[in-house]
Symmetry: C2
Subunit: 195 residues, 2 copies
Amino acid sequence: MSPMAQKRVILFCLALISTIALSIVVAAPPATVPGIEFTAEGKLKLPTDYRHWMYVGASVTPNDLNRGAALFPEFHSVYIDPESFAEYEKTGKYRDGTVVVKELASVGGKEEPSGKGYFMGGFNSLEVAIKDSKRFKDEPGYWAYFSFEYKPTAEKEAGPHATVACNKCHQDSAEEDFVFSQDYPVLRASKPQSK
Amino acid sequence: MSPMAQKRVILFCLALISTIALSIVVAAPPATVPGIEFTAEGKLKLPTDYRHWMYVGASVTPNDLNRGAALFPEFHSVYIDPESFAEYEKTGKYRDGTVVVKELASVGGKEEPSGKGYFMGGFNSLEVAIKDSKRFKDEPGYWAYFSFEYKPTAEKEAGPHATVACNKCHQDSAEEDFVFSQDYPVLRASKPQSK
């Protein structure tokens, strides 16, 4: 090999090493979200402050339309942590670290002066979905799912559900990246290409 | 009247005048809320940024339960401006200047993997309630009500509804200070005495 060829090989190797080093530095860890903490054993602590997050929409699966025992009883109010939502508004993507919270409330009444329908009663439970490529590297899409029952008192910690319990259904039926954005108009209205 | 008695009367009058003057200075004007503006003619401009406000709950009065034409079609998502909400958390009162926004969305679907029920479609319109003791001094409770239709494009301005159109029903049936807090669990959970 000529000295010139040797020099080219050395330069190529240096460039390659720099590129690899740079990509390691650039690969950001999953974002952390205030109010979201794990125990040393990897259980999720009951989230705090999520009612001040970004509300993206609601749905209702009432017991009376689900043979008296809805899978999710009954109103679903869905929130996304504010920084991940701001990122979604810019990119249309759920960033690594995104937390989606679904707080469930019972049906409290079925008629008001505004009409017949479903009106919220008290809170039942909290469902949490977290996308984290480090902590949940083995879950499809890196999404893990947790539940906290409120009765008789709110559970303080919860381990992730088995993949087949929640992730599978989100993988099969959610419109974008395991999120049922098809049911949440604030998400649809906030996605960059819809503006 | 003795000089001493005269002096007492003068001191009393001065104290009274000071008290009245102080009460005029202390009586704060209604709070202003970012994103809420009026035209010179007193019409409300279409509010902005309310989707980042405090969500307090949702209800649904679907067309199919209201003879095909719900009074409010169909999902109601209710927000309160953040500073008025923070005041409510402290005092349990809606401060002068409070703005409550109700964004209406159609029913988009009636079944998802989570069960049978009602799922949100697109946005229809915006309803706004404002409590303002100066601007709406003649309205019961100082609350005035506005509507903005979104179709074909969002209306840019709206005058207040006649008292009988909205205020009357809120006066008769809303649980506290013209607000249907009975249907919004975040309000119930945030009121000081419930903590």
